[in-house]
Symmetry: C2
Subunit: 416 residues, 2 copies
Amino acid sequence: MPTPVPTTASNHLPPSRTPSDPQSTSARQSSLRESNLGLVVRTVYASPTALSRAGVAGRTSLTRSTVSRLVDDLVAGGVLAELGQAEATGRGRPATPLVPGAGLAALGLQVNATYLAARVVDLRGTVVAERVEYADLVSSEPAPTLTRLAALSTQALKEVPGDVRLVGAGLALPGIVSADTGRLLLAPNLGWADVRPADLVRRAAIAGLTLNVGNEADLAARTVAEMAPGRPSSLRDFVYLSGEIGIGGAAIVDGQVMQGRHGWAGEIGHVCVDPDGPVCPCGATGCLEQYAGRRALLAAAGLPPGSTPAELRDAARSGGRRAERAVSRAVKALGIALAGVVNVLDIPDIVLGGDLGQIADVLAPGLEVQLRSRTLSARWVSPTIHTASDDPAPGATGAALRELSAVLAHPAAWLP
Amino acid sequence: MPTPVPTTASNHLPPSRTPSDPQSTSARQSSLRESNLGLVVRTVYASPTALSRAGVAGRTSLTRSTVSRLVDDLVAGGVLAELGQAEATGRGRPATPLVPGAGLAALGLQVNATYLAARVVDLRGTVVAERVEYADLVSSEPAPTLTRLAALSTQALKEVPGDVRLVGAGLALPGIVSADTGRLLLAPNLGWADVRPADLVRRAAIAGLTLNVGNEADLAARTVAEMAPGRPSSLRDFVYLSGEIGIGGAAIVDGQVMQGRHGWAGEIGHVCVDPDGPVCPCGATGCLEQYAGRRALLAAAGLPPGSTPAELRDAARSGGRRAERAVSRAVKALGIALAGVVNVLDIPDIVLGGDLGQIADVLAPGLEVQLRSRTLSARWVSPTIHTASDDPAPGATGAALRELSAVLAHPAAWLP
DNA sequence: GCCATTATGTTTTGTAGAACAACAAAATCT
DNA sequence: AGATTTTGTTGTTCTACAAAACATAATGGC
């Protein structure tokens, strides 16, 4: 059974607001060590090839002796591991390659309108265990749904080897979330409002850990920003669009999710695209969702509500007139909304995920044209559309990644 | 004459991108000291009342002895000063009040469509010297304009007492700026493109310092975020709108200007408000500027192009039909654009500056209604409109503040 | 095959900076 | 006047890193 870490599990989440000053707390000797532990860990994790102690010393400006001391502790704590086989590297004593440890992992859960998912991901980015269950959760009840999710989680946890320690549990939700109180304020498509998931999930189903909730798009965007824990992808700044029934979004700046004042940033789905457009359940008019959300797209294309995004894409590609019109209407709306975002945020890379990722190839060309003509910065940097990999439940992975990132940020808390 | 600091003057600007990891460089003993020096400085500066050494020790978790050592060095370097008179504070040995030093100051310059300005601001926020010259700089020539600015700067520097050390020089420009190369890429209203101001201003006019350029709205927003160097105002997160001929903007998150990928974030003036709206010189259609920029407002109100914002406001308040219509058209456009920004950034506080600040009282009521109906978060946090204080050249002050903030961030670099 | 060379990793010693504790200073309260 | 209280200073101890010497384990030249 995975062993929870009671002393540190509750306070390992970064504060809900991004800290402005580098160190707002006093620095003592131990902070030095903590900072350098983090530096060593991040250096090893970020490197595409396995580094040795000397390699880490070369990349950081630490000495070999210091790195050695720190690495020894990190290996003992399971954050790093020594790869036994020394690869032949020319002259000199062969190096001991260092890799992320496999002894620490995190649990990521997700509730979406069409599925439930539970995943356990370790520090290497390996999915240790996984359960996904498809279901229609539109206008569902929170309690029974979360009970089903807990069952999935329990099943997944049974598959986790006994020597793996769980460091945290996260839950991705498609709605407005108050991370500090652990409350889901509103999830229009689930029909949920003011729910505290931690109260409805048995503690045993999450290995006794505190359950940290988060917005689905924010967490899914993490899977784009990091290919594995601590290993940044080539995109450091991008806007992620999560197309489902509604449209969620997140802005990633320098690899970090932009939270905003309350953690509600990224609600691109309700940017106004046309003041005279259709009324949105949110109360405003002409919201992006009313043009590029799943329901709006399928309805405009004349497809039955149960159709898949792939069917829409195929219809548009094979010359279906209504499908083509629906797509070009969505492209225009996305172009207006995203151009505004690019102008305001200065982030010219857009990643399409969820439904929008699946129809990205019919959206991207027109969208790039729109963005080039509507963004001020296009004359210097051309906006680019990317497609997210089609993970069945990116929010679950992202929730686990968020928990694991706490280990990389402050490894000292997880050392014996 | 002010003495430049050659060894540190060139590299005291924060990197153009916000650093993601707290310490990406190795921490040694000296980093500890640097960090704590910064902590002490920020604690003293941020406090509304003068703190003693013991007071600082109480607020930070440093010991009195450590604070004492650090404060002694900071006083010697001019970053802090001891206030002679000990105020009676009850029992015990009277405390020595610590205040920001007056020995360090920065130069802030500004070029705008209607004026040139030069200011010297010290660490206490006192304007040591100032020159403002009004002029019509629409479609002007960069070289002669910057020569006039240099003359203003030279005059202002003459007024600076000899014992004041200048730590940096900044220039606020109304356009797209590439901070790392020191280049103004485009300033539509000045008619400037691809200008390197540092090449056109004599070094003597900026006391031999390197001239750091910045966007006017970004820098003006700093004057709202800080009432004095290191003293944060009550607003920690807000969107600043700088209404001039064009409309510039900046988003401030936790007291820091959001830069974006290239430092071009905040271009709210070119957010699309109506896809079928008028064509904008930028190439897009229905940009906010076409509704709420000065020219658009005056034209819609039927006032001559040379009119002031105050005249427009008075016309609208005294029942001028066309003026009223112009204002309500601008309110609607601002509402749509700002609602999008609030939805994406989760920053419900808006500060109106420049022309928009002057007509804020006729804009604010309607604008708040618009925002309440168009933002998703309004049901939990009501969006609020604020007005910036009517500083004649907020960009110049902000440019100086940015230079001074480098001293507060890394005081060690300025100690003897 | 043996020894120089080279790079990795460990041990030892030195040092900087903060905590801790004791003390000196300067006021108020009784 | 003496006890009390708070501020600021002066040693001493402790911790973590740097620097340098040393140990280790490979390759390469003869």
